[in-house]
């Protein structure tokens, strides 16, 4: 049991704080599936305010997980966001860690019984 607990702590520590935050995990998930996504789509899908979304995007961009491109479509400004390779890798690692954690916790619950 103590070994399991150590494993659990080790896994928890390996979670990336930048990716683990719920909204940022959502942003990376959408970008991974959509590849190139417009700012408005992220805002609407994740139900975030523009300011809040911008903050999360800045954090992700500073970490090199996404790329932001600003442009125009007619007269309207559009911001397109894409996930980088590092972003894809970080998302995969996060989801894999969460799955392992879930498996470990379930196993410990069964051992308790």
């Amino acid at each position: 049991m103590s070994n399991d607990l150590e494993g659990l702590h080790g896994l928890t520590a390996s979670l990336d704080d930048i990716v683990h935050q719920k909204n940022r995990l959502g942003i990376l998930t959408i970008l991974h599936e959509g590849r190139t996504v417009e700012f408005g789509y992220l805002k609407e899908t994740l139900n975030l305010t523009a300011g809040n979304l911008s903050q999360h995007l800045s954090v992700l961009e500073d970490s090199g997980l996404i790329k932001i491109e600003k442009g125009y479509e007619g007269r309207r400004g559009k911001t397109w966001i894409t996930i980088t390779r590092a972003g894809t890798k970080a998302l995969r690692a996060e989801v894999a860690t969460l799955r392992t954690l879930l498996g470990l916790i379930t196993m410990m619950e069964q051992l308790k019984k």
Binding site: G26, E33, R35, V37, V95, E109
Partner: protein, 291 residues
């Protein structure tokens, strides 16, 4: 289940839900299937065949009751012709409805279907398909661009358009420039003879689009369409219809129609099913969100 369990499970569930939603909203493959299905169906009239007045003589080297190969002299050139024949035992010549003709002249702007030139319609068929493919691939590109600006999800579609145009250009180049100088048809015979080569060209563009959509199901369907296009190019599909017992309406001048109807039906069916599934998943996801 503990709170910890529930929380991790709920995060993973949300991730999965988001993935499904984005994937569903990103796809636009149905449009390409429906559009090319309609364009294929639109070409049907060009495949109606009658014995051409240009055929001056027919000689029947073999025997048969239904369809035989004859040698026809058209504009001074001997060409192989398949007819629904009256060439019966003892007959020296055959006459009847011409089904297909190989070794046609690639000149007269009949670049896409050099073996298919009955009723002098080959060049019109080439013109129709050249325009249809150009308009079709361009419309697909415009559709994806327009969709991206509405939904906010961009799918890179231009490589599929480039592949479609590229294969079309290669086919025209082979037949318009290389063949006349070489004297014989490159990849001669069945590949060009039924006038359905443009459907094969279309199938490569659709496969490229399915790859860009990153959907295994679309890729399998597009590969299936390459199979259907090859069948329509290399085989008289009417034989298959006969075997199914539905070939009766396609005798005589409509002999070539099944080669067009089969790929058109495959595309239209795929397009409508894809659209319906996408629509249903969208409704189910919207209900999930509201719950």
């Amino acid at each position: 289940m503990t709170d910890q369990d529930a929380s991790i499970e709920s995060v993973l569930g949300d991730v999965e839900l988001l993935r499904t939603r984005v994937k569903n909203e990103r796809h636009g493959f149905w449009f390409a299937l429906v559009l090319f299905g309609i364009l294929t169906l639109g070409s049907l009239g060009f495949y109606w065949q009658r014995l051409s007045g240009g055929i001056s003589s027919l000689h029947c080297p073999g025997l048969g009751t239904k369809s035989v190969h004859c040698i026809a002299t058209i504009a001074g050139t001997s060409q192989k012709v398949e007819v629904i024949s009256t060439c019966v035992k003892g007959a020296k010549s055959c006459s009847g409805l011409v089904l297909s003709l190989s070794g046609g002249n690639p000149s007269q702007m009949n670049w896409l279907n050099p073996g298919f030139n009955l009723n002098q319609s080959g060049q019109w068929l080439t013109l129709y398909w050249s325009l249809a493919l150009i308009i079709g691939f361009t419309a697909v590109f415009v559709f994806y661009q327009h969709r991206a600006s509405i939904t906010g999800l961009r799918v890179k579609s231009w490589p599929a358009v480039v592949i479609g145009f590229g294969v079309l250009a290669l086919a025209i180049l082979f037949n318009a420039v290389l063949q006349p100088s070489g004297g014989t048809l490159l990849l001669s015979g069945d590949l060009w003879v039924r006038g359905t080569t443009p459907i094969l060209i279309m199938s490569f563009g659709l496969l490229a689009l399915a790859v860009l959509e990153r959907s295994i199901a679309y890729m399998i369907y597009a590969l299936g369409f390459i199979g259907v296009a090859l069948l329509a190019t290399l085989y008289d599909v009417v034989n298959f219809f006969d075997w199914l017992g539905i070939g009766a309406p396609f005798q005589g001048g409509a002999h070539e129609f099944p080669n067009i109807l089969l790929p058109a039906a495959y595309l239209l069916l795929g397009g409508f099913v894809t659209w319906a599934v996408q629509h249903d998943v969208g409704v189910a996801l919207a209900n999930d969100v509201h719950e």
